[in-house]
Amino acid sequence: MKVVGKPRPVSPRWGRRLGAFVFLGPGVAYLAVLLLVPLALILSYTVFRRGRFGGIVYEFTTENFSRLFDPLYLDVVLTSIKLATLTTVFALLLGYPTAYLIARLPRTWKTVALVAIVLPFWTNFIIRVYAWTILLSGPGLINSALGTQMELLYNHGAIVTGLLYSYLPLMVLPLYAAIEKLDPQLREASANLGASAFTTFRRVTLPLTLPGVATGCLFVFVPSFGNFVIPEILGGGRTATVGTLIRAEFLKSRDWPFGSTLALAVILVLIVLLVIQSWVSRRG
């Protein structure tokens, strides 16, 4: 009998190299072109001057960095941190019990619940944000249902509501994964040893799901920090955030170097957060 497609003898080392090249090549090329080049560009733009109509003039300057410490922009950064932190805290408070509940549902309901969590992602983001203006506006649904005249739109509350609504699933999913993995016997053992439900949660469940908490917080904080659509639509353009500022620098003021410097500052914040998250995960 003839063996079809018998592999040619290749030295195992070359085979591995070839394999690594074939499988890693496209990914590496993709990352190099679409991630590292833009990053390198952002990094290089931060030390040059702006062209009068946008673009870059290749004259070295450190002005962009000193501008970063202008109280005006520090204020903007602080506002963004405040909004993102509030969003993350609310997402955690809402997300943890939700994830806990889903993890303890019977299998079929689990799937249904998870699909329901992800379902909003199937609709366009902008449309969902605009929908909130209908709910929150002066003569909107909430006020007319309650018969009140509350000011719900165009303030920080509206921005946090929008961010929370948009990114809550990013909190629930990693938390669910962490809680689901937890061996129920640990909780039973804790109860058998006389711990109350609260103590079990505090001493067993929470510490073991902390990596999930860290991941969830990161997933919510990061996009909330940089978002510009929600502050624009639900904030009525009355709140400047890092996201709206970077967008304005690139598209309205066409100050690419300063926009890049702001973007770099955001990236640095994210790196710090990633380090914290990986530290928490390793400890867990």
């Binding site: 080392r13 591995r16 190299r17 690594a20 890693l24 590496v28 990352l31 190099a32 072109v33 991630l35 590292l36 080049v37 990053l39 390198a40 560009l41 290089s44 062209g51 009068r52 109509f53 946008g54 673009g55 870059i56 003039v57 290749y58 004259e59 005006l72 922009y73 204020d75 903007v76 506002t79 506006s137 002066g138 003569p139 000011e151 165009y154 009525g236 353009g237 009355r238 709140t239 400047a240 709206t244 500022l245 304005a248 598209l251 309205k252 003021s253 066409r254 100050d255």
Partner: protein, 372 residues
């Protein structure tokens, strides 16, 4: 062994590739304002040039010219090709026109102050009036625009002004002054929208203070900032959807570009007024790039667009006034339409001119207003 070495080196290789590509990308762009050649002399153009050997690339805002313009112009002018490319904003157009990408463009549509800036950089071909006989269709006022008196390097395509667009059934008193926007009465609190785009954000305050919309004096801009900050708790900023907000009643007064104010709405409850302190005059223009190799065809295209049949399209279809008397005479002005604003009234407005490096003062102003 080999495998470990291979994967260890991988990030280095990736970073090196990334940097190499980035450097290559940087090198590809030319610096935009290090050299500022003076506007140079007009090229020698041949009125009888064979246009069939010329092709045109035009950059314009989406939906700003008739859909079939490229096709019709190609047939009419007998040029070999007409390509229409688009830009969303003046700023993107400028980014395109001031770098190498601009060399492929023959005709560009930009606002007046941007045409002025392009001309100052020596990037525009002077208009050769003998190649554009249809210039005679323009209103006399359209040759007296402050950024380019005598249409030396630009030909106006549309023009208009900024004012207050309001719900006549919901306001308790008709707005007359920019103060109605900046210090809204209690019944209009938070039901007023302002434009957030830099120069227009400052416009109402500058006009109330009787300053020029083109001021670059720090103390004048600082005074305007005070007024704008005082207004902030009472207004919403909206550049895009104020028309809808007025229609829904969520807003009762809006600082608005005339073409964006839905006065012809079926309910007839939306009106437009130019406040007593005066306003601005904006003009969108057509310019020919110095680098164009198809200048005769470019002039022929502008001449073609100035035909009343073509130019009236903008007024009839997208509700923009055109500075072309012959074209406006052809247009039926519907009741309530702002197309009725006369050229003389428009010329009362102060035309925005390019502020050069001082324009960053307005950028900072708008960030300060947003951040406080």
């Amino acid at each position: 062994m080999s495998r470990i070495r291979y994967t260890r080196r991988l990030p280095v290789v990736v970073v090196a590739t990334g940097l190499a590509l980035a450097v290559a990308a940087c090198g590809g762009e030319s610096s935009t304002d290090s050299a500022k050649p003076a506007p140079s002399a007009a090229a020698q153009l041949d009125a009888k040039a064979d246009l069939s050997k010329q092709s045109l690339t035009v950059t314009v805002w989406p939906g700003y010219t008739p859909k079939e313009l490229a096709e019709k112009a190609k047939a009419e002018l007998k040029v070999s090709k007409v390509d229409i490319v688009e830009h969303d904003t003046n700023e993107t157009a400028m980014a395109k026109l001031t770098t190498q990408a601009g060399e492929s463009i023959d005709v560009a549509f930009v606002s007046g102050q941007y045409a002025q800036a392009l001309n100052e950089q020596g990037l525009l071909e002077p208009i050769h009036p003998e190649l554009i006989p249809n210039l005679s269709n323009l209103y006399p006022e359209a040759t007296q625009l402050s950024y380019d008196k005598g249409n030396k390097f630009s030909v106006p395509y549309t023009w208009g002004t900024t004012g207050i667009c309001y719900r006549s059934d919901l306001v308790k008193a008709e707005p007359k002054s920019w103060n109605d926007i900046l210090k809204p009465p209690a019944w209009a609190d938070k039901k007023v929208t302002m434009l957030a785009t830099e120069r227009w954000l400052a416009l109402p305050a500058l006009k109330v203070l009787k300053f020029s919309v083109n001021t670059t004096k720090d103390e004048e801009i600082a005074k305007a900032k005070e007024l704008l900050l005082a207004a902030k708790p009472h207004v919403i900023y909206d550049d895009v959807t104020f028309g809808q907000k007025l229609q829904s009643g969520e807003a009762v007064m809006s600082e608005a570009w005339d073409g964006w104010c839905p006065t012809t709405d079926a309910k007839k409850n939306i009106k437009f007024v130019v406040p007593s302190e005066g306003s601005d005059l904006w003009v969108d223009t057509m310019v020919i790039m110095k680098s164009s190799k198809n200048k005769e065809a470019a002039h022929a295209l502008i001449n073609y667009i100035l035909n009343p049949e073509i130019h009236s399209w903008a007024a009839a279809n997208i509700n923009y006034k055109v500075p072309n008397k012959a074209a406006m005479d052809k247009v039926e002005v519907p009741e309530g339409s702002l197309l009725g604003i006369s050229p003389a009234e428009l010329l009362n407005g102060e035309a925005a001119i390019d502020l050069g490096e001082a324009s960053v003062k307005y950028t900072r102003l708008s960030t300060e207003v947003a951040a406080k």
